[in-house]
């Protein structure tokens, strides 16, 4: 088998990222610029500002990644880029640069599904889980339980019908006067909270099914806060109760999914996977179900290009994009993927 080395590009939201992945040597480079500070002032991602920043950052990052990987263009096998889902204008910058680089270098191009990247991210680690596995994907934009049978064989078992888990964290953090994105700050505040002072609902757990709903928890936090003086202790207690409700809900559904598909491995992807309480409870859950839990390292839980390069590397063996189209779509159903 000839050596496969992939340049990966990711610009679907507020991170500009480039990576080089080699199927024998593994990850050779990954570089990233986060726009968090740019958007923090607005309390959320401003799509047009995101696009404007991507086009300024991307090419210097490509240069940096290639030099970090000691890789000449002639040593590349293909270019993989995130084609969706995400912010259309942001996606188009990465897709436009990536597809044109591939054209100019005479390389195949691969339009990659952003969530497929997240699902496969644990395979970047030294001791990767084997297929099949259950994936709990919990990020700022998505909450999904996916039955991952093999590359390109994904069945969505459940998803959020409203806010994503990370989005609920961020919105509640905002109510608590924490910065944006406030998931991690909320988790830190929750450590000071007194367990049991408030009890939040575990939405949609009292009926069968694997879908989630998190928008009610944010409202619950708001009404709880309204009845309080708003001392530091009050805020910490609300943070604690909120986090406990989200984590319990995620765990209840993950256990159900594990039992339903008889999976032996759980993979956790997405930024909320950094949450310590979630990690602790999932470890206990997996132990009692006789399953193992796998996380990508924190840097690959959130948006990155290493996962896109990896997905491209796995997919290249099955072919590449048939024409010179620059592919970008804001919406793209994960379960429509094939190999």
């Amino acid at each position: 088998m000839p050596n496969t080395r992939i340049l990966g590009i990711e610009t679907s939201c507020d991170e500009t990222a480039v990576a080089v992945y080699d199927h024998r040597q593994g990850l050779l480079a990954h570089v990233l610029h986060s726009q968090i500070d740019l958007h923090a002032y607005y309390g959320g991602v401003v799509p047009e500002l995101a696009s404007r920043d991507h086009i300024q950052r991307l090419l210097p990052l490509v240069r940096e990644a290639l030099s970090q990987a000691h890789t000449q263009p002639a040593e590349l096998s293909a270019i993989a880029y995130t084609a969706g889902p995400g912010l259309l204008g942001a996606l188009l910058v990465g897709a436009g640069v990536a597809r044109s680089l591939a054209w100019g270098w005479g390389l195949p191009a691969l339009a990659i599904h952003h969530l497929e990247g997240h699902l496969l991210a644990p395979l970047l680690e030294p001791d990767p889980p084997a297929f099949p596995f259950l994936c709990l994907l919990v990020s700022g934009g998505h909450t999904l339980l996916v039955d991952v049978q093999a590359l390109g064989v994904y069945r969505i078992l459940g998803e959020s019908i409203d806010d994503a888990a990370g989005e609920a964290f961020d919105k509640t953090a905002k109510l608590l006067g924490l910065g944006y994105p406030g998931g991690a700050a909320l988790a830190a505040l929750a450590l000071q909270g007194e367990p049991g002072r408030f009890s939040f609902p575990r939405p949609m757990t009292d009926r069968p099914g694997l879908d989630f709903s998190f928008s009610g928890l944010k409202t619950h936090a708001l009404t709880t806060l309204r009845g309080l003086a708003g001392t530091d202790q009050d805020r910490a207690d609300v943070a604690h109760a909120f986090e406990a409700a989200v984590v319990d809900t995620l765990c209840i559904k993950t256990r159900r999914a594990l039992q339903q598909i008889q999976a032996q491995r759980v993979v956790v992807a997405g930024g909320v996977g950094a949450n310590q309480r979630l990690r602790q409870q999932l470890a206990e859950l997996a132990h009692s179900e006789g399953a193992s839990v796998h996380y990508p390292r924190i840097a690959f839980c959130t948006d990155n290009a290493a996962m896109i390069a990896l997905a491209g590397c796995l997919r290249l063996a099955h072919g590449s994009d048939p024409d010179l189209s620059i592919c970008a779509q804001a919406r793209w159903d994960l379960s429509s993927l094939r190999v």
Binding site: Y42, R52, G89, G94, S100, W103, G182, A185
Partner: protein, 237 residues
Amino acid sequence: MSCALKILAIETASEQCSAAVWYDGTLYQQSQLAPREHARLILPMMQAVLDEAGLSLSQLDAIAFGRGPGAFTGVRIAASVAQGSAFAADLPVLAISSLAALAQQGLDQGSRAVFAATDARMQEVYCASFGADAQGLAQPLTEEQVCSPQAVSLPVEPERFSGIGSGFASYPDALRQALGPRLTQYQPNAFAEAACVARLAVRAYHSGQQLPPEQAMPVYLRDHVADPPKRPPLGYR
């Protein structure tokens, strides 16, 4: 003639999507009115014009792109494609005004001076006035700006202008009224084309305006794209 200049140009700032090659004075162009299809069409068009000219990317001297002003997404497609292809082929880029390329069409039809205005949405136009240089190529007489169609004006000279661009399709009355009788005629259904970008790029090339690929940046003119929060968010440092 190995020193003959060869430039590949693209223009995607409006509904029109086009690519052109300038090869020692000969132009090859592909152009299509294709709203929201630019991402799908532009690279095949670039390949087609290169094939027509019998050139490969590596034989070029530069890549030129319409840098706007225009639709944000369209202008960024041009910039990102120019960046990617120029970086891959180790070529410089030339950033050409999409309004100048549009005005060039008016000059080619015999006008001495052209007021180019494109629809900028939100009840505004992108506009500027252009005259011709000794070669008949568009030369700005004013700064480019984004403003309401009621607020546009012509420079004091020359006396007569023709108008061009989608601004005249969207706001004909307001523009006619603001520009007055010095506007002798206008053409509302014209869009900037890559062939004009290529011709202006030849001049830019000879005056040394080549840029490294990472400096291929759009010109937006409209910089206010998000309202700041009424008060900075709590916890904002």
